[in-house]
């Protein structure tokens, strides 16, 4: 039996550690023991496969997927697009990308959100799509608003879109947040600042992409996502210990 080739070890120095006291909720929710390092078997290198039967073509259009007929949400119309790649710079095709966000006023459509900014009757705030053969994805939405949250008394989240990506193996599973170029709240956000590596933070900031902008309609931001890469199978077809 040949053993599957592993994914590259995760570079944990660019991810936030579990315990980040500046983000208070992490204090009681962070493991204290060391994790057990696990080399990969089929349990790790496989993962769920999604297809076009799972979702609908309009699921990636947040301007229309919850709007009443003939109406659309309030806010700056944007295209959020990019590619899902792996660390080898290869596209990750046919993978599920799910997003969720606040509306243009910074309010979430969620039973637990009580912020005084109003719900937008024409905005749900979630979308999903599959990457194409080149790893490309696109959403149409409104730019989310900043909003206050309870951490220190006066903390505000920068405008952000939550992004969930699968990849092809369960080890690639990732949830992150996409920020927007030029937002002055980014460097003072306790959640952004859980990330110890400045370049890793920079990689979470979507860039204004004038070439992808639709004139007189929607402005575009580009956000590429990188998932873990995998070793080539060369030299790996022998049993362990041989």
């Amino acid at each position: 039996m040949s053993r599957p080739s592993d994914y590259y070890q995760r570079n944990r120095s660019l991810h936030p550690p579990a315990l980040t006291p500046g983000y208070k909720t992490s204090v009681a929710r962070s493991p204290r023991q060391s994790m057990i390092a696990l080399e990969h078997s089929a349990s790790e290198i496989t993962g769920p496969v999604f297809g076009h039967a799972d979702i609908d073509p309009g699921d990636n259009d947040l301007l229309s997927n919850y709007a009443r007929p003939g109406e659309s949400p309030i806010g700056e119309r944007i295209i959020l697009h990019g590619r899902v790649l792996d660390e080898n710079a290869r596209p990750v095709p046919n993978t599920l990308v799910e997003i969720w966000q606040a509306n243009a006023g910074g309010r979430y459509r969620h039973r637990k959100d009580t912020y005084l900014a109003p719900i937008d009757p024409n905005f749900g705030g979630c979308g999903r799509t599959l990457t194409d053969a080149n790893g490309y994805y696109a959403f149409r939405t409104v730019k989310p608003g900043a909003y206050p949250w309870r951490n220190m008394v006066n903390n505000w989240r920068p405008a952000h879109v939550h992004v969930s990506v699968f990849g092809s193996g369960f080890v690639q599973r990732l949830i992150t947040q996409c920020y927007f170029e030029g937002d002055p709240l980014i460097p003072i956000c306790p959640i952004v600042q859980t990330i110890p590596d400045p370049d890793a933070i920079e990689q979470l900031v979507a860039r204004l992409d004038m070439n992808a902008t639709i004139p007189l309609d929607s402005i575009a931001y580009k956000f590429d996502i990188v998932l873990r890469g995998r070793r080539s199978t060369l030299f790996e077809n022998r049993l362990e210990g041989n």
Partner: protein
């Protein structure tokens, strides 16, 4: 110019936050938007295997249940095959092997209905005991936590499991073993996940 290693760097993780339901389980957030929410069909009605329910809580370092957690499960079918091109073999119609559950907003209890998986090969000729792979995200969790669930009625296979045996402390292996009981004619396994403190669950760096 020196040779360059032209790898990209993985995108950094950020917490799923308190409103993860909007994106991944909108019905729980309080609205209906998609034709079908994903993750409710781990093993369809035609799938072979022992039908089981798994339920539990995620407990934080203060001993309180986490009421806004989301867990994804990834498992093999009764033959030990994953529904994936490299999954070890074909799976029957209706077997997906992937599910997504959230905890109750009031009690923190989560539950999932599935079938018990078969053993899966390890990296050598040994087999791994039947197990579920779990991925846990929530507000306050900066990077999703990976753990595994094993079954207490497979004691012999668990004792030989190559992954459980990587855990140096035998007492900590117990944190990964779900406890079987029967309730109203249904098999229920209890599996609590302790994020921190006494009895802290073993998490894996995979």
């Amino acid at each position: 110019m020196p040779q360059s290693l032209d790898y990209l760097r993985e995108t950094a993780s950020q917490t799923a936050g308190p409103y993860v339901h909007i994106g991944l389980a909108p019905g729980a957030a309080g609205f209906d938007i998609y034709r079908r929410e994903l993750g409710h069909d781990i093993a369809g009605p035609a799938v072979r295997g022992e039908r089981i329910r798994i339920e539990g809580q995620v407990i934080d370092g203060t001993g309180s249940p986490v009421k806004d957690v989301l867990i994804e499960v990834w498992q093999a079918n009764a033959d030990g095959h994953y529904a994936h091109p490299e999954g070890g073999g074909a799976v029957e119609e209706g077997f997906r092997g992937w599910g997504r559950v959230i905890s109750d907003f009031d009690t923190g209890i989560w539950a999932l209905d599935t079938i018990k998986p078969g053993p899966v090969p390890w990296r050598d000729a040994r087999m791994q005991a039947p197990h579920l792979n779990l991925w846990i995200v929530a507000r306050g969790i900066n990077l999703g936590l990976n753990t595994r669930l094993y079954f207490d009625d497979h004691a012999e296979e668990n004792a030989a499991d190559p992954v459980l045996n990587l855990i140096e402390w035998a007492s900590r292996r117990q944190t990964l073993i779900a406890a079987r009981s029967e309730r109203d004619g249904q098999t229920v396994y209890r599996f609590d996940i302790r994020l921190q403190g006494e009895g802290e669950t073993v998490f894996f760096d995979i």
